[in-house]
């Protein structure tokens, strides 16, 4: 019984980790290659969720909604890159943090004006709302399994693109030596726009999948954004491998902390003390983890060399 619960919570941790990974992959690529800290990445996630929900409502099909939302988010990403972010690549991180913070305010308000301040309604289509009996006594929601599957597929796709294709080669080259790539006659601007659009689409994908389970409302990007930053900082910025590892670690630590910290604490301190200390500690856990990782390895677990 207890083992079943632990297995279920580990699955929950993996699922949350996969969600974080989809966000983190785009963010870390953009950071690694363009050296851009993009706080507005969460806004793209929000826009993905809004597009998917609107297209779903309009077409009546979840799949069509998702398929339309991805290119739409990509387009928004490209527009944002061309209009605002392009000029920020050569600026320091401080300028980037502030300008993209401004973009968050803008997008939250824009979404509120276009779709209204109350959230949008989505639910799962019938065929996705069932459960799968993984083990006797362990029924797991089909949709969450699908999230895990898509996340792993995207991870493999990314790995393939980055290590096996020409685009990936340019991305890796761009991350380690930008000037050299430009000197070789590569259109670096175009490369940047492609990478940014790609990252936006990944954030959009996370948003699409979040739509049916989370609240689709203005500001939904911020709550996940800070956790995603924790992920890429723990993993080592610019590294896809690091993003994957960081996402799984953060997803697992956060989930297991929420589930088991209180009962574990209750073994060593009084139940009433555990009642108040458990949740407080659980909400600080990932930040604590990040501080410890950075104290021991100031460049994260999988540092990417050079710029």
């Amino acid at each position: 019984m207890n083992l079943i619960l632990i297995t279920e919570q580990v699955l929950n941790g993996v699922q949350f980790g996969v969600m974080l990974f989809l966000m983190a992959a785009g963010l870390t690529l953009v950071f690694g290659i363009m050296n851009l800290v993009n706080l507005a990445h969460g806004s793209l996630y929000m826009i993905g969720a809004y597009f998917a929900t609107s297209f779903y409502q309009w077409s009546g099909s979840f799949v069509i909604g998702a398929l339309l939302a991805l290119p739409a988010t990509l387009v928004v990403g490209v527009i944002v890159e061309v209009v605002a972010l392009r000029t920020l690549y050569d600026r320091d991180h401080l300028d980037q943090v502030l300008a993209t913070f401004g973009l968050i305010l803008f997008f939250n308000e824009l979404v509120a004006i276009v779709w209204g301040r109350s959230g949008l309604y989505t639910s799962l289509p019938e065929w996705l709302s069932g459960h799968v009996e993984l083990l006797p006594d362990l029924r797991y929601p089909l949709y969450r399994l699908l999230i895990i599957a898509i996340g792993i597929a995207v991870a493999f796709l990314l790995w393939y693109v980055v290590t096996r294709t020409r685009l990936g080669m340019l991305i890796r080259a761009g991350a380690s030596n930008r000037a050299m790539v430009a000197a070789l006659g590569i259109n670096i601007r175009l490369l940047y726009t492609i990478v940014f659009g790609f990252g936006a689409a990944l954030a959009g994908l996370a948003g699409v999948m979040a739509g049916p389970i989370y609240a689709v409302q203005p500001g939904m990007g911020e709550s996940i954004l800070i956790q995603v930053f924790v992920v890429i900082v723990i993993g080592g910025i610019g590294s896809i491998r690091g993003a994957m590892a960081g996402a799984l670690i953060v997803g697992m630590v956060d989930t297991l902390g929420r589930a088991f910290l209180k009962p574990l604490l209750a073994l060593v301190i009084t139940p009433s003390a555990a009642q108040s200390a458990g949740p407080a500690l659980a909400s600080m856990l990932i930040y604590l983890l990040m501080a410890v990782v950075l104290a021991l390895r100031p460049e994260g677990l999988f540092p990417e060399r050079g710029h």
Binding site: L94, G102, I226, S276, A280, M284, L294
Partner: protein
């Protein structure tokens, strides 16, 4: 505030601030005393951030932590019946310095984006700690039953007296930061910002110098926190929210990084603009957001650069 003209602008600005209470009194508009007192308190926080950000190149995305520590020090002592102002404020400064020492000693080992994020992480921890501590109101926060007491010296309940005290502390902060950055200590800090390897080569360890600057900035900001909780008469953990850190950072950028008095102008413009825009439309953030972007893109030297005039440096 480079050169002669800079000094004139700063002095004129401070003189104008000093004139606010009598003018507001004459116009029978005491609200402006309140508004500008809030501006000046947050300006003190911004000036302290500028010390490490503008001069030291340390982009702390967690400066609101010290506003929080300063506020909590005063409010918690008042909660236990200790109302002595000097004691409360000393504890606020000391506690903030200690927290800054702890955060700084870990954070300064990192650099770039890692530094930004680790300072953010520590402040998030303090924020979640604040909302979980039921004794001091948790997320609700708690009222400050009595203002910090200074005997017959000064009564913070008198808005004008409190105003001038804040102004005096602001001036003192400006003088301290100005002298610091122009001392040998400040030279090392600034040198380490522009070229760490060379600083090391000429025999200075940037780590220790940076840490000291980080602690001083934290301590000053802690005092701002002590003032802030007296200003609002209310303690709230939301003072440590990451958006407040962002606001303080923006005051520095808007005012002009690495200019001692720039952040004061930044705080003034930011808060007054926010006040005006939010009174005008509920969708004010759709104007305010792009304003942030434009300032960052096109007004690199901030208000200070503009006020000081000249096209060079």
């Amino acid at each position: 505030m480079r050169g002669h003209r800079g000094l004139v602008v700063v002095l004129a600005g401070l003189a104008l601030l000093a004139l606010v209470p009598p003018v507001a009194g004459m116009l029978n508009q005491p609200f402006y005393i309140d508004l500008l007192r809030r501006v000046m308190i947050l300006a003190i926080a911004a000036v302290s951030l500028d010390l490490i950000l503008g001069y030291g190149g340390m982009v702390s995305f967690g400066h609101a932590a010290y506003l929080g520590i300063g506020s909590y020090s005063v409010a918690v002592m008042a909660f236990y019946g200790i109302h002595s102002g000097p004691l409360q404020w000393l504890v606020a400064i000391g506690a903030s310095a200690l927290v800054a020492l702890a955060i700084g000693s870990v954070s300064i080992r990192t650099s770039g984006i890692y530094f930004i994020m680790i300072t953010l992480a520590f402040t998030q921890m303090l924020y979640f700690l604040g909302i979980s501590v039921d004794e001091y109101g948790g997320d609700d926060g708690m009222g400050l039953k009595r203002l910090s007491q200074f005997g017959n010296l000064i009564d913070l309940g008198d808005p004008v007296a409190f105003y001038y005290l804040v102004l005096a502390i602001l001036v003192l902060t400006l003088v301290i930061v100005h002298r610091l950055v122009h001392s040998r200590f400040g030279m090392v800090i600034r040198a380490a910002k522009s070229n760490e390897a060379r600083t090391r080569a000429i025999g200075f360890s940037p780590y220790a110098y940076r840490l000291v600057a980080f602690v001083i900035a934290g301590a000053i900001c802690g005092l701002a926190g002590a003032l802030y909780v007296n200003h609002t008469k209310y303690l709230s953990p939301h003072i440590m929210h990451w958006t407040i850190s962002g606001d303080i950072m923006f005051m520095v950028i808007l005012g002009g990084m690495g200019s001692t008095a720039g952040p004061v102008a930044g705080a003034l413009v930011l808060l007054v603009l926010e006040n005006l825009l939010s009174g005008w439309t509920e969708h004010w953030q759709i104007i305010f957001g792009p304003f942030l972007v434009l300032v960052v893109l096109f007004a690199k030297r901030g208000l200070a650069g503009w006020l000081a005039g000249g096209r060079h440096g």
